[in-house]
């Protein structure tokens, strides 16, 4: 069904979705001088069953839209309150589709949140993208690269299939449209404008350090809500843009910490993107290395022009190899990183790698060169915002949730073997769902922004807690640390540290 519904939503798309979810996950304190709302959320815990009403997902006519349909007999108390916010104060005891969303994501964590709606929109604009029965979302993501991540378009829609079949959220089904951003800044701008033309309730941004800052700027200019993945800190203050991920500046520093504290051997080197959207993830890394005994990075650092620029790799690899660099910090997009590792192996160079891009592209494509059995002195070290997908390891705390997701995929997407891309997507969408639960039945765009500005705090499943109380735009301040391991003939990420503010 999804083949005709969603365009190629690739790994990037998934990641983007995941990130979105993460972003959505934070907000706390309320503003005292404005009308406010309190939403009480109740619902099943993470171990709930997958079953539910077998309402089939309706597909819209758009070839890029996955629609929840409008019939929705299961959507209980849904949309009656739409459009009523904007100054309404008091308690809003909304339910999430009559509690029919079995197996939801740590639902108790969003209970009792008190927030103050903003006044950024008025009239019909306030309820754009949300009706009594549906919520329209649009996401930009690099779907063109779906195959690189073993991810088909229909694989991305499983969460919404399941959610919609079980009553949706706040009594509404979710229509998700995915626009391909081609993994470029220019493509992201076009994709975001396509999203705008659909008048969605929210625009979500997939992973892409090149793309997200551009769309963030567009969101501020055109006044649409934008929830995106990890990006640079930018100006640090936005009215319409929110992320529950850490900034790239934070991640750069963390990776420097992790590299030295775990005794990754020097000399150290780096290859990074020398672009305003990226460079912050290198400067903080370098600053940490300079201050803690890793100064060799200074003379062994090489730059590329964009996230996907691979043109200098051959020479950089030669330079690094000749210099005897044993640990290389890679700060570029995952596809370029993939090319780097592969090309280095082809040139007989096997350093240890450290990277903030801890998702499965690297594992799936060049696993033999990054795990603890490769000639490298240490396995690849990576950081990421979602916990490692390690379904064969029942010792991790989130194992039940992994199994729940796997069971849902068996039910809704039997031909697909879920991987960590699906895992990230799943958790991201759960966090988006939590945002709606927090917003309640009468949710408007002003409510959503108000939730962030009121300092949303939430913990969605095994995602790290997010907290927007210190900064309404950036709610993430924690990271997971992974290491690559060989297991049963495949390379997997094994989590080394969970939700740490210091590595």
């Amino acid at each position: 069904m999804y083949e005709s519904v969603i365009p190629k939503a690739g790994r990037r798309g998934v990641i983007a979705v995941v990130c979105l979810g993460v972003l959505v996950a934070a907000c706390g304190s309320s503003s005292p001088n404005a009308a406010s709302k309190t939403h009480q959320e109740t619902g099943p815990g993470p171990s709930g069953t997958v079953s539910g009403q077998a309402t089939s997902t309706t597909v819209s006519s758009s070839s890029t839209t996955q629609a929840g349909g409008g019939t929705s007999s299961a959507l209980a108390s849904g949309g009656s309150g739409v459009g009523s916010s904007g100054g309404t104060s008091g308690s809003n005891n909304a339910s999430s589709g009559g509690g029919s969303i079995a197996g939801g994501s740590g639902s108790g964590t969003v209970s009792g949140f008190h927030y103050t709606p903003t006044h950024l929109w008025s009239g019909a604009a306030e309820t754009q993208g949300i009706s009594a029965s549906t919520i329209t979302l649009c996401m930009h993501a690099a779907t063109v690269f779906g195959e690189a991540f073993n991810e088909r378009p229909q694989d991305l829609g499983v969460y919404w299939d399941w959610l919609n079949a079980n009553g949706g959220v706040i009594g509404r089904k979710v229509n998700m449209t995915i626009e391909d951003d081609e993994y470029t800044a220019q493509g992201a701008q076009v994709a975001a404008q396509e999203c705008e033309s659909l008048n969605p309730f929210l625009v979500l941004g997939g992973i892409g350090f090149d793309q997200d800052p551009v769309v963030r700027q567009l969101a501020e200019q055109d006044h649409f809500i934008y929830i995106y993945t990890m990006a640079d800190a930018g100006t640090g203050h936005y009215n319409y843009s929110f992320t529950s991920s850490p900034t790239i500046q934070q991640v750069g520093r963390w990776m420097g910490q992790a590299e030295l504290d775990r005794h990754y051997p020097g000399p150290y080197g780096a290859v990074y993107v020398n672009d305003s959207a990226w460079v912050g993830g290198y400067t903080t890394y370098k600053a940490w290395m300079d201050a803690h005994g890793g100064k060799s990075v200074d003379q062994n650092s090489y730059t590329t022009n964009s996230g996907g620029d691979t043109s200098g790799f051959q020479a950089y690899i030669t330079e690094l190899k000749v210099a005897g660099v044993k640990t290389v910090y890679l700060w570029m997009n995952a596809l370029a990183m993939d090319a780097f590792v592969e090309q280095a192996a082809n040139q007989g160079y096997y350093p240890a790698y450290v990277t903030p891009d801890g998702f499965n592209l690297v594992t799936q494509t060049v696993g033999k060169d990054i795990d603890n059995q490769s000639p490298a002195p240490k396995p690849t070290l990576a950081g990421w915002i979602t916990p490692a997908f390690d379904p064969n390891n029942p010792n991790v705390a989130w194992w039940p949730e992994e199994q729940q997701m796997i069971n849902v995929y068996k039910q809704y997407d039997a031909g697909h073997s879920p991987d960590d891309i699906d895992w990230m997507t799943w958790l991201a969408f759960e966090q988006v769902t939590d945002l709606f639960k927090t917003c309640g039945n009468s949710c408007t765009r002003d409510d959503i922004v108000g939730i962030f500005h009121s300092g949303w705090k939430v913990t969605t499943g095994p995602l790290c807690p997010v907290d927007f109380s210190a900064n309404p735009n950036f709610g993430g301040s924690l990271i997971n640390l992974f290491s690559a391991y060989r297991e049963n003939g495949a390379t997997v990420w094994r989590q080394q540290a969970t939700c740490q503010s210091s590595l």
């Binding site: 993939d338 090309q343 040139q347």
Partner: protein, 293 residues
């Protein structure tokens, strides 16, 4: 500039791949006076066909490479039969533009069939990791590239200068009408030219894929074709030995400029363009041509 020996070997190794591309460009130019802008994309297609079998269906590298080269042969013959032959009387500019159309057609085909995702084409194996030369590891893919460049240039040299057919090809390049009147089989000459160029492109694609790390639609056209064109220009378009020398020179200039300006991405490409300008100004018929401008 502390790693000159390593970068010399790197430059020469890459230069052999540029030489293969330049040889194909020069072969077509020599016979048709047209520039074949599809040369890069034929190589990309060969690499993708090989990847399909090697990477996706886990076939032996030789099987994948053979299939890739077979695909290149088919494309070369199609270009001869359905592009070059019907356009025999057309202007050379028209034929050149037609090859551009072929390149974009192949690009569309690759994107549709194989997708836009980068893929890893495994390198060929020789049963050992490689040979260290001046501190640079010549991996099997580079050894194959050097061997291929030597074999291709030697074969072309022998065929074109030591066989009646080859002399016919050269005669056609000089004056196709007269050559035809003298009995040179124009159709066979054309087929040889386009198929030969396509095979050279295929070999370059199979060897360039592993050295670039990943392959993706247009990867040859987007990066390596430019260097092949520079090599052909430096060597003198249509000059086959010049194409080989041009490839090696481009490889060396690129390697040295990267080494010298390693912290200035993009500058090596500018230096290559400066090389082209310099050659065109000083020796417009190529570095091996007798007599200067």
């Amino acid at each position: 500039m502390g790693h000159i020996p390593q970068f010399t070997v790197l430059g020469l190794a890459n230069g052999t791949i540029y030489a293969l591309i330049a040889l194909g460009l020069s072969l077509v130019y020599k016979a048709t006076r047209a520039i074949n802008f599809a040369q890069g994309e034929v190589g990309t297609l060969a690499a993708f066909i090989a990847w399909e079998l090697i990477g996706r269906h886990h076939q032996n590298w030789v099987v994948g490479a053979a299939a890739g080269l077979a695909a290149a042969v088919v494309v070369g013959y199609v270009m001869h039969r359905f592009v070059a032959t019907p356009m025999r009387e057309a202007s050379r500019v028209s034929l050149t533009i037609a090859t551009l159309g072929v390149a974009f057609t192949l690009y569309g085909f690759e994107a549709k069939v194989f997708g836009a995702s980068p893929e890893v084409l495994p390198p060929p194996s020789l049963g050992f990791q490689g040979v260290s030369v001046a501190g640079f590891l010549l991996t099997p893919v580079y050894i194959y590239a050097i061997a291929a460049a030597v074999i291709a240039s030697a074969t072309l040299g022998v065929v074109l200068r030591r066989t009646r057919f080859g002399l016919g090809v050269l005669a056609s390049a000089q004056d196709s009408d007269t050559a035809r009147l003298l009995g040179v089989p124009a159709a066979k000459v054309s087929a040889f030219t386009w198929v030969g160029a396509a095979v050279l492109a295929g070999v370059a694609g199979l060897l360039a894929g592993p050295t670039q790390g990943v392959i993706y639609p247009f990867f040859m056209s987007g990066t390596l074709l430019f260097r092949g064109l520079v090599a052909a220009l430096v060597g003198g378009f249509g000059d086959l030995p010049g194409a080989v020398y041009g490839g090696l020179i481009v490889g060396l200039v690129e390697a040295y400029s990267i080494e010298a300006f390693v912290h200035y991405p993009g500058l090596p490409e500018v230096i290559l363009m400066a090389l082209v300008l310099g050659v065109l100004l000083v020796r417009p018929r190529g570095i091996l041509a007798r007599g200067a401008a």
